[in-house]
Symmetry: C2
Subunit: 245 residues, 2 copies
């Protein structure tokens, strides 16, 4: 029986999503809980993708198989009672046995929050604190140039050997809420560190240190050294995952 | 030289504000930092009042004396570089030697946040999660009855022997922001657990388990057993402190 779960987590106290030996990760915690639910038999979960250490998720998705059929609400309640308070299962649904939470992804949406207001200790793990003014108009012009199908190698983690650096971004925009700059990116997939590297470059544009049109040149170079500093992990949220019909 | 500081903190990882031996408290951390700034001489700080474990502050105030005069901005920067990330000094100003951060308080303002929306792990330390509907209209009628000068013994921590349980609340209201109920209380002073006990009783009113007019009877009883469950600490914020001219 295959199940799809939708879950949120506070990434602050995890070494990222992916299973690691002797480290507190989100996958470890969920698989430990499922082991108990599945009658002390191991369960592997397959998420839409990993998130790095300190990165949060509002609607991460993963599938897994159980030996026997259980009501979805029972699985949800059992998981939430077994899991630590920084992971929350929002929904459990049964899916076809050929559904795959990673391979069937159509789009993923991330948000990145920059706080340009006063440092607030309560938000320290949930925003990127930035104490200077940023030119939002130029950042908005820059982010639009990222929309479309491009080779994103310049924005990918160095030494992250991939077969394919081509990705399509269908939505990228900037909204302002009080002192917060909220960047949204929706696309068919994102390379490792890609969003944080795009944000780092957009901050350089906001500082007026480079022209927004530089985005086009950086994309063309297909080399990480042309993009700028990776923005901090704590401002990043996996906001949603969309599947093919 | 006497200085007044305004500071914010995330109470989640502290055993409250007040100094305790071998425990992580806000006062301990600030006094440790001031010891270094004051040439390795102990400095005692005097806050507007304590806050309990897990309670947050957006604008707590405290005064202290240093052996020598230092520019306020230098003290602020030195403190922020020495303090952990969950305390932030927002302002430092010089004050008269007869100013006292506790005795000269005119009003203090607290906020209490209840989340009636879906549990969000990112907010778990910053709101009181309440998964049922509350009758806001009745809560609003109830909170108004707390305004004025009353004996608040019924809302005070049991066994907290005081000489005087009379306090004046000059403002008490409820605002709704999306799924959050935000209660604000401003008064000339608050007894231990007073706000959390008032909130606990207002929740009972919101559940329609008691009539809002019960507030008057509970106040008259002057006995803690007539009020209801103390609301959780994590929803409480010391929002501001106001001094006499």
């Amino acid at each position: 029986m295959r199940y799809l779960i939708t879950f949120s987590y506070d990434g602050s106290n995890f070494f990222g999503y992916q299973k690691q030996l002797h480290k507190r990760t989100i996958q470890n915690e969920i698989e430990k809980a499922l082991f108990l639910i599945n009658g002390n038999k191991n369960v592997s979960i397959h998420a839409s993708g990993r998130t790095d250490a300190l990165v949060h998720a509002l609607n991460q998705k993963a599938h897994f198989d159980l030996n026997k059929e259980l009501p979805c609400l029972n699985i949800k309640n059992a998981l939430n009672s077994l899991l630590p308070k920084d992971i929350y299962i929002k929904n459990v649904e049964q899916v076809n046995n050929n559904f795959h939470a990673r391979f069937d992804v159509k789009y993923k949406e991330y948000k990145y929050i920059i706080n340009t207001g006063l440092y607030n200790p309560i938000e320290r793990n949930y925003v990127y604190q930035y104490n200077k003014n940023l030119d939002i108009d130029n950042m908005k012009k820059g982010i639009e140039l990222l929309i479309g199908t491009h080779n994103f190698k310049s924005f990918c983690k160095t030494n992250n050997e991939q077969l394919d650096y081509i990705r399509t971004i269908i939505k990228a925009n900037i909204e302002i809420e009080d002192d917060k700059i909220i960047l949204t990116f929706k696309g068919n997939g994102f390379l490792r560190y890609m969003i944080r590297n795009m944000v780092g470059t957009l901050i350089k544009i906001g500082e007026n240190k480079i022209n927004y049109k530089e985005i086009n040149n950086i994309l063309k170079k297909e080399n990480r050294i042309y993009a700028f500093k990776t923005a901090n992990a704590e401002g990043l949220y996996l906001n949603d995952v969309f599947y093919k019909e």
